[in-house]
Structure formats: structure tokens, C-alpha cells
């Protein structure tokens, strides 16, 4: 964990007081709806379809046990008993009362949490690899750099009224697990040929109604220049991003309309003016932050892995099946990262009950250095469990209904709140997730299908990242009915690609069946069990999938003609 110092804590406390006063003035009629809206959004508070929604920031997805317990407390005290992990590693509550939000924020501040800039046209939560600090393919832990960036972005006086929201993600590993290329800025930690530490900077990615893959604007930025360079990018965007049309206001549109070369030129010209200013970091600034992250003292490999893990694998087939899917390699010998699946049948993907918050906090404290991570695939991770403890962790997770062995498989799908909660939605997504779950409940079948990312959004805003799903599902409104557009072949990883549309949209009643047909085609077409859905699609193309979905007599539906 990053531990606040007294200064961090004071700023968060002052924010609570400020928001309490803003809420008071709104309720007293001194602030208009419109003005309060902008202020409350910058504190993560939406007024949704049924009730307000409060989005709590989880910087780079990292949570401590006391923070989890506090989330449980909030779910119990102010909500209907559960919270929801979002695709940006944050936690949302769907039923708080406006009058109580200042109290919730005050409670959060006691465990070094807040809701600052989790919404609104400003710099949002900084996200990172959920395996940061433990992944074997990592150059170095990106989280101190994320925290620096978080602090720089917090209440940035110049960038609080941007044309549109602004999202920054970090990656430091060979495999990009944080979807950096579909962010406004993607930062990759790298070493140059001389062995110096720095960053490759990508700008202009994004999902939503004009999905785009980010462009590289700088191959190597020296380590101490991070903040001045971010400031240059943001200033170019703040000055030149479009403000006349909300659908053209993201930085990706500016990059596209200027062209990546011209945009880069403008950023570099601005940066030339800023790079030697006070914005240039001192090595000590990074050290000060790094020193406030907990250091974990690992057991020797032989003590961490006493042989019982392998014995349990051999003796318990259910445990072995779970271990095969829900564990990932830890770079420390004798340890593994344990995924806590929030994708059980009958549960909206990403939902966590207050009892589960508390119980996972206990597990974290007992077995994983008191830390948990939230993933952008809407699961949790106990990232540092000694192998001798994994069996006990699994037994407890099983009791909690958090051990569905489906990480990375078909039913580990991600989906936005959709029509059930979101006032912007065209169609439901949680119900569709359940339909898919019902059809593919057989886990052996899921294992046979292998690695598959289904991503679902209830509208073009794309909070469920449908454009980068291997199978993407997008809710559309057709004469007041819920229909779904399907895309294939998207990816948010190193090979970031946007999915291709299959054809006309599909009715609510047929969408789970359509997924089943797509899977059948894949199983028929794949060369062997090692060829993934994505690889197969890339090799054979759209034709066989399209043929199966629509048959030969594909009617030219109106929405296809309109596309």
C-alpha cells in the first residue's frame, strides 16, 4: 500500500469539508442543478436511473484490508449491502442518498480513500496492471509513478475543466494488462539502449462511439520528465480539444484531426517550454513516494511452498481445476497470485456483498500482506499468497462463492451496469450476462473453449469496453426494444485492435444463442486446442461466423445500412 503522509491526509479531509458545504448550498437552493452537477461529478456522484451512484477511487486498483472493511461498512450502512467493481478498477455504490454522501466521504477519508475526480471532465483515476509488483514479466513496479501522477492530477487547477474526461493508464510489463492503448494517455515504463529508465508515451486511444487505438507520441521520455510531459499534453488538449460537440471532445479526436505527427509537434513545442521548469522531477520526489509503499518480506521459497500445495492438487480435483484457472505466476518463488472471481452465476459481474468485502479483507490480512487488487476485468486479486496457504484460501473463497474457476474464460465476461442502473443505457447487460452464463455453465466446455474475453456495454459510451472484446456486445435501442450489435476480434492488449461488426443487430431473446453459434464456429475452425478464439478469428476472418449468425439470406437491416 501507499500510505498517506499528513499532507495527503489533510487534502482529502479538506475535500470532504468542501463537498459537504457544496451539498449544503445545493440543498439550500444556492447552487443550481447544473452547477452542482459539475461539482458532484468531480466527486464521483451521479444521479442515476433509480438513485445516486457514488464511485469511489481505487488508485491503480490497490486496496488495503481496512479499506475493504470500510467498503463493506458503507455497503451495509448506506447502501443495499453490496458494491460493484468497475472496469476502471474503482468501486461503485448504487444506492446512497445524496444527503449522506458527505458522511460517506468522511468515513472513506479515515482509511485514506476518496471519490476525487472519479467522474467529470477532468483527469480520472490512474490505472495500472493488476499484477503490478508481482508479475514475472515486469520491468519495475509502476505504482510509485502512478501515485506521483495521481498527486499531480489531484485538484490540478488548470485541468479541472477539460473538454472531456481524461484517462491515464500505466504498464511496465511485456504483456499490457492495463489496456493502455485504449486510454487518453498510455504510459509504458521502459529502458532505453543506454539502460536509462523512462517511458514510451501513447496518446489518443479510447473506446466509446469512436473507438481508436492510441498513437505513440514519444518513444523515450526520461524518467524525471514525466510530469512536465503530461502537463504539455494536457495543455495542448485543454486549449485545442473541441468543446462544441461532446461526441468529438476526447483527445483522440484532436489527435485524429490534427494527425499524430502534428499533434506530437505541438506537444513537443509546449514541452520545450516546460521541461526545465519546476515541473521537472527530482530523483528524491520519486524516492519519497516509493518509500511510502509497504515493503513485503517474503518467506524463503522452501518455507512458502512446503509441498502441501502439490499434494492438495493431486488429492482434490476441484481444487486442481480452480488452481489451473484462477492462479497466476508470482515472480517470488513459492508464491502465486490468487484471483477472486466476481463472476458467479446469479451475480451481476463485479458485485461484492458486504460480507464478502469483510471476508476478503480477513483473507488479505492473513495470507496476502493485507492487500487486494481490483482488476479492470471486474475481479479481485489476492496477489501474494504463499503456496502453502493457497488451499486454505480456496476453501474460504469457495464458501464465499468467490471461487468460480473461470478467470479468463467465457463466463469471466465484463459488463457495464446497463439498463438496470444507468440512465444512458439503451439495453440491459446484466441479464444478457446471466443468459450467457446459463448456456455455458458447464465448466469443462468453457475450459475446452479456452481464453475468451466477452465484453458488453449497454450503450455507445462503451464502459464495458465492448470494442476490444474478442466478442463485443453493444446494446442498441431499436424502436424502444433492446437489441445488440456484435463485434469480433477486438483486443486491448499489446496487439490492441478494435472488433469488426458481424452485421445487423440481434434481438434480446437471441443474443446468448448468437454467442453459442460463434463458439461453435470457432470450435469447428480452430486448428487445435491451442489456437485461441482470437487467433482463429484473425486467421479465418468474418465469413464463417457471419454465415452461421445470419444464414445465407442476410437481410440488409436498417442499422447496417445506416452504419
Amino acid at each position: 500500500m501507499y500510505r498517506y503522509d499528513e499532507l495527503d491526509q489533510r487534502l482529502v479531509g479538506e475535500r470532504v469539508a468542501q463537498f459537504r458545504d457544496q451539498t449544503r448550498r445545493f440543498l439550500a437552493g444556492q447552487l443550481s442543478e447544473d452547477e452542482f452537477r459539475s461539482l458532484r461529478l468531480r466527486n464521483g456522484l451521479y444521479l442515476q436511473r433509480f438513485a445516486p451512484m457514488l464511485r469511489v477511487a481505487v488508485p491503480y486498483g490497490l486496496l488495503s484490508a481496512p479499506q475493504l472493511r470500510m467498503l463493506g461498512h458503507i455497503a451495509r450502512t448506506y447502501d443495499k449491502g453490496y458494491g460493484h467493481v468497475t472496469t476502471r478498477q474503482n468501486i461503485q455504490f448504487n444506492w446512497p442518498k445524496l444527503e449522506q454522501v458527505p458522511d460517506i466521504l468522511a468515513d472513506l477519508a479515515t482509511v485514506q480513500m476518496h471519490a476525487i475526480q472519479t467522474s467529470g471532465n477532468c483527469i480520472r483515476n490512474i490505472t495500472a496492471d493488476h499484477l503490478a509488483g508481482v508479475a514475472a514479466d515486469e520491468l519495475l513496479d509502476p505504482r510509485p509513478y502512478c501515485e506521483l501522477t495521481r498527486q499531480w492530477a489531484t485538484f490540478h487547477p488548470e485541468f479541472n475543466w477539460l473538454p472531456r474526461k481524461f484517462k491515464i493508464a500505466f504498464s511496465s510489463s511485456t504483456l499490457d494488462r492495463s489496456a493502455t492503448k485504449v486510454h487518453d494517455i498510455g504510459v509504458h515504463l521502459v529502458r532505453n539502449a543506454a539502460g536509462e529508465l523512462g517511458y514510451t508515451i501513447y496518446v489518443g486511444g479510447g473506446l466509446g462511439r469512436m473507438p481508436m487505438i492510441a498513437h505513440q507520441v514519444r518513444a523515450f521520455l526520461p524518467e524525471l520528465d514525466l510530469i512536465s510531459y503530461l502537463e504539455a499534453i494536457l495543455r495542448v488538449y485543454n486549449r485545442h480539444g473541441r468543446r462544441d460537440n461532446i461526441h468529438r471532445a476526447r483527445v483522440k479526436v484532436l489527435v485524429k484531426s490534427l494527425g499524430a505527427a502534428k499533434f506530437t509537434e505541438q506537444v513537443e513545442a509546449e514541452w520545450a517550454q516546460l521541461k526545465d521548469s519546476d515541473l521537472r522531477l527530482q530523483p528524491q520526489d520519486i524516492e519519497n513516494i516509493r518509500a511510502r509503499f509497504d515493503r513485503h518480506s517474503y518467506l524463503e521459497a522452501a518455507a512458502a511452498d512446503d509441498g502441501s500445495y502439490v499434494a492438495h492438487l493431486a488429492a482434490d480435483a476441484r481444487f486442481a481445476a480452480w488452481a489451473k484457472r484462477n492462479l497466476r505466476v508470482h515472480r517470488q518463488p513459492g508464491y502465486a497470485a490468487v484471483f477472486v472471481s466476481l463472476k458467479a452465476s446469479g451475480i451481476a459481474p463485479g458485485d461484492v456483498t458486504h460480507q464478502q468485502f469483510d471476508a476478503v479483507a480477513d483473507l488479505a490480512e492473513r495470507y496476502s500482506f493485507g492487500e487486494v487488487r481490483a482488476t479492470h476485468d471486474q475481479n479481485l486479486v489476492l496477489a501474494e499468497v504463499a503456496k502453502k496457504d493457497i488451499y486454505a484460501v480456496w476453501r474460504r473463497l469457495s464458501e464465499l462463492n468467490l471461487a468460480t474457476p473461470n478467470i479468463g474464460l467465457l463466463t469471466d465476461l465484463i459488463c457495464c451496469p446497463g439498463l438496470d442502473f444507468c440512465s444512458l443505457a439503451n439495453a440491459g447487460s446484466i441479464g444478457v450476462a446471466q443468459d450467457i452464463f446459463d448456456r455455458f455453465e458447464d465448466l469443462d466446455y468453457q475450459h475446452d473453449i479456452g481464453e475468451l474475453k466477452i465484453k458488453m456495454s449497454g450503450c455507445m459510451n462503451g464502459c464495458g469496453h465492448h470494442s476490444v472484446g474478442h466478442i463485443g456486445i453493444l446494446g442498441v435501442d431499436k424502436h424502444g426494444e433492446e437489441w445488440y450489435q456484435v463485434t469480433l476480434g477486438g483486443s486491448a492488449e499489446n496487439d490492441a485492435t478494435l472488433g469488426d461488426r458481424t452485421g445487423p443487430s440481434i434481438a434480446r431473446a437471441d443474443i446468448a444463442g448468437a454467442v453459442e453459434k460463434l463458439i461453435e464456429v470457432y470450435l469447428e475452425q480452430r486448428e487445435d486446442a491451442d489456437e485461441s478464439f482470437l487467433a482463429t478469428y484473425r486467421r479465418v476472418g468474418m465469413a464463417p461466423f457471419k454465415q452461421r449468425l445470419y444464414g445465407g439470406a442476410e437481410a440488409l437491416a436498417e442499422d447496417e445500412a445506416a452504419a
Binding site: D5, L7, D8, R10, L11, E14, R15, A17, Q18, Q22, L31, E35, S38, L39, N121, Q151, W152, T154, F155, H156, P157, E158, F159, N160, W161, L162, I227, R235, N238, R239, R243, Q273, S277, D278, L279, Q282, Q284, D285, N288
Partner: protein, 174 residues
Amino acid sequence: MSAPDAGGVILDRRIVANEWLNLADDATLPAAGKVIVSLKRFRAERAGLDASGLAVGVRIPNTEDVSALTLELSSQPLLAVEIPKFADGRAYSQARVLRERCAYRGEIRAQGEVLRDQLLHMSRCGINAFELRADQDAQDCLRAFSDHSLVYQQAADGAETVWQMRRRQAAAAR
């Protein structure tokens, strides 16, 4: 001539009487006093304005690249930046460039939808005068400047940042 502004004016964190007259492009110049004209008019009538004996401030469109204006405007006592809607943040960047890059020392005045909850950030960006929207309570607005006592990032106000404080603390501890 445009009507005098109904809202209060805050200058350097004090409520003051508005001494400046916002002139439309077709309004005749007064005989004496302080006027704010558009950049367009300033350029068209520069010689006459310089000779008029008036104090002349210039209103800069928020689309303008202010770093290119330094030479032209550095001797004017006031520059006005536009907040057409409170959610339009372009003037914040302009103000910082005027202060930090162009070293402009005169008054930078925000005009338009200038509201209490934006004042602190504006002032951090170097705006030191605020023509408040008519419905704003000037007294209440003064409180906004103390919403936060700390800042993470350096800006035009020269406030010591949290990072600088940490450097200082670390140096003292050595």
C-alpha cells in the same frame, strides 16, 4: 456602451468597486477612466487608444495563443480572460502562460460565468481579479480561496507544493 456589471468584483482577494468599463467594439470612448476593449478593437485602434490618456485593458478571446501576444500586450495594465461557460477551462491555460511564460504582472481578470467554486483554481492559475456573475455572493466567494490549504502541483501562484515540502522535510531530517 455596455451596462456596468451587476455582480461584485474581487481583486487580490478583496471586494472592490469596479473601476473598469467594458466597452463594446462600437461604443465611443469615454473622456477619462479605465476601459476594457476587445483584442480586435485594440489592434484596430491602437494608436488612438495609446494617445487617449485612458487606462486600457484588453479582452482576449479564449481561443487565442497568448504566448504570441507578449510583446503586444505586456504594457497594458489589465488583460481580461473569458469564461463563457463555467465548464470551459481554456482561460486557465491562458492565464498560466501569461504569468509563467510571459511574466505578465498586470491584472488578469476573469469575466463571464465566474462562480464561487471555480475561484481557487483560477487564482492558482494567475487570475487575480474576478467579475462575479450577478447572482454570486461576493462575501461568500471570498471563503472559496481557503477551501484548500495545500497544493500538489506548482502553478502561477508560486505556492509551495506538497512535493517541495517533502523535499524540505527530507533535507531537515538529514
